[in-house]
Amino acid sequence: MTTVAKGAKPLLAIKGLTATAGDLEILKGIDLEVYKGEVHAIMGPNGSGKSTLANVLAGRPDYTVTGGEVLFEGHDILQLDPEIRARMGVFLAFQYPLELPGVRAWQFLKAGVDAKRIHNGEEEMSAREFDQMLKAKVDQVQIDPDLVKRAVNEGFSGGEKKRNEILQMAVLEPKLALLDETDSGLDIDALRIVSDGVNLLRSSENAVILVTHYQRILNYITPNHVHVLYDGRIVQSGGPELAHELEEKGYDWIKDAVETDV
């Protein structure tokens, strides 16, 4: 477990974040600080707003931020386009990765890498250098090399799509990875491979926010902090033991606790 040096600045600081989808208020005031080297698990029942939080942080245009601020490395990113956030080092692993028929994985990933490099004042990567890097990442996250030769996610199984998200994460080397229910729909083998990938990419220089409905993935990825999101608010935070408590008692326990509080 990583400890945070006193006085360090958070990688991500969310203050009073509220957001809507259409007329529906989904996030009702989120406060959260994430430091480099940390893994935060965000848990909660369906409809609590946990996927919305991940998507709002990545800049999905379907949501409207109505209040609060999000500082990433000290910069307010809420006004920035999703591609700018991505180039700064925010990565969203999708709950339902999209199929891109006709878009070759190679081309897709290289465009992402080059966009980031240009953003950082570097030159585009040469094709040869990119080939080597991609091959190394494919080995690292143990994805079938044939998947990279095909169109992105086209005809992939659910597990292959999630693994491909992890490969993209490995290639783009984000500072903040948002995993939106990456564990859902995975069998135990796929779950282990995805978790191994995340653990491999964890470092003291990055952070992970793991959005999940189930405690299961936390058997493989040990979080530093667990937060429970309910009705658009973080209603409880704790260590890994909180996840086990949720597993035992279910979400009704949280619902009851919150509602008697009110």
Partner: protein, 449 residues
Amino acid sequence: MTSVSVKFAHYLADFKSLTQGPGAAGPPWLRDLRDSGWSRFNKTGFPTARRGNERWKYTNVGPIAKTDFGIADEPISVPSDSLPVYEADGQQIYDLVYLDGRYSPELSSPAAASAGITAVSLASVASDSSFGLEGQIGHYAPPDDDGFAALNTAFLYDGAYVNIAGDCSEKVTVRISYITVDGTKPKVSHPRTLIILGRNADATVVESYSGPKESVYFTNAVTEISVGDGAQLDHYRLLLEGGQAFHVGTSRVKQEKNSSFSSASFALGTALARNDMEVLFGGSGGFCSLNGLYLTADHQHIDNLVSINHAEPYCTSRLNYKGILDGRSKAVFGGTVIVDKDAQKSDAEQTDKNLILSRQAEVDSKPSLLIYADDVKCSHGATAGHIDAGTLFYLRSRGLDLDTASKMLIQAFASEIIDTVKPEHLREHVESVFASSIPNKTLPMVGIR
């Protein structure tokens, strides 16, 4: 009613100078064919987009009828920049190049019937009966087909003649380039292409049409193709005319027993384009795959009328067209698969998919099946859609800006058809032509979620 001779006065003058000038020297059968074309054209005139005329329902050729197009004088200079740019990868290519419809010996590298391979100018061999043109020209695309075919027949003089003899062992590639040269007056050309593949022959033919970007001109092309028993033809049609150009292309294909015809038709940039293609299975066991990709912008209009006639049993056809529409452009797709009563075990699929990039663009897609046999497998479908907002976000979340992301998705949509091009040099050429023409969409049309 306006008298015909006044209505088509400029065509009549050109017709007279052809028949009394260079055309007079041709063989009698060709002169008769021209006359029949001319009288047919006088009777029918240009087709009109009136009700009940299904073949021309959505396309108004008024602008073609109203313009005084004339046959070009001899071109003075050779526009080297409009010549085919792609290189063959080490393989022999027979090149036939035409400027304003006239064969250019300087720019061509023909094949003169040696080793069973003929790829020559029509005009140069029309009088030589050993080439056997009589009975072939006008056989697959008769002048009574429609007004444009009739007009082309009336002005039949030059074009391309490709004949691969039966059991020719060489895999032949012929590239036919019809280039309109910039000029002061609106010009018309009526190129005729005749492609005959003998038994078991194997050939690739690339027909391309191009011209100046800013001039008004009209290409009225007719292509006749016969694919012999067991023969295989890969046919590519590149329509890269200028932005003020009119193009009407009529292609008629007859396939014999166990033959294969794979075609890909690419169109972009033309003000008004019509691609009328008919394939007839004249023998059992044939296979044809007709692919098309069109990209339209501004006020451009394209009309693809494609029909496949399963007249014999055990034939398979695949018809797959895709369109990308921007600006106020309009695309028409009329696909018809006809399965005759005796054509059992026919297998036919037809689709037309369109990607609409602007609210003002319009597509009229009408795939249809006419089935008279009972043991067949046929399907058809048409779609029109926008770039999906969720997909766009997926690409942006990986760092790609809107322009790059939408361009990548548009290219991906086109790639299904471009990837059907077998020769690598041609595929790369088509890919780059399309890539450079895909509009930059700073504010793409996105579907509402």
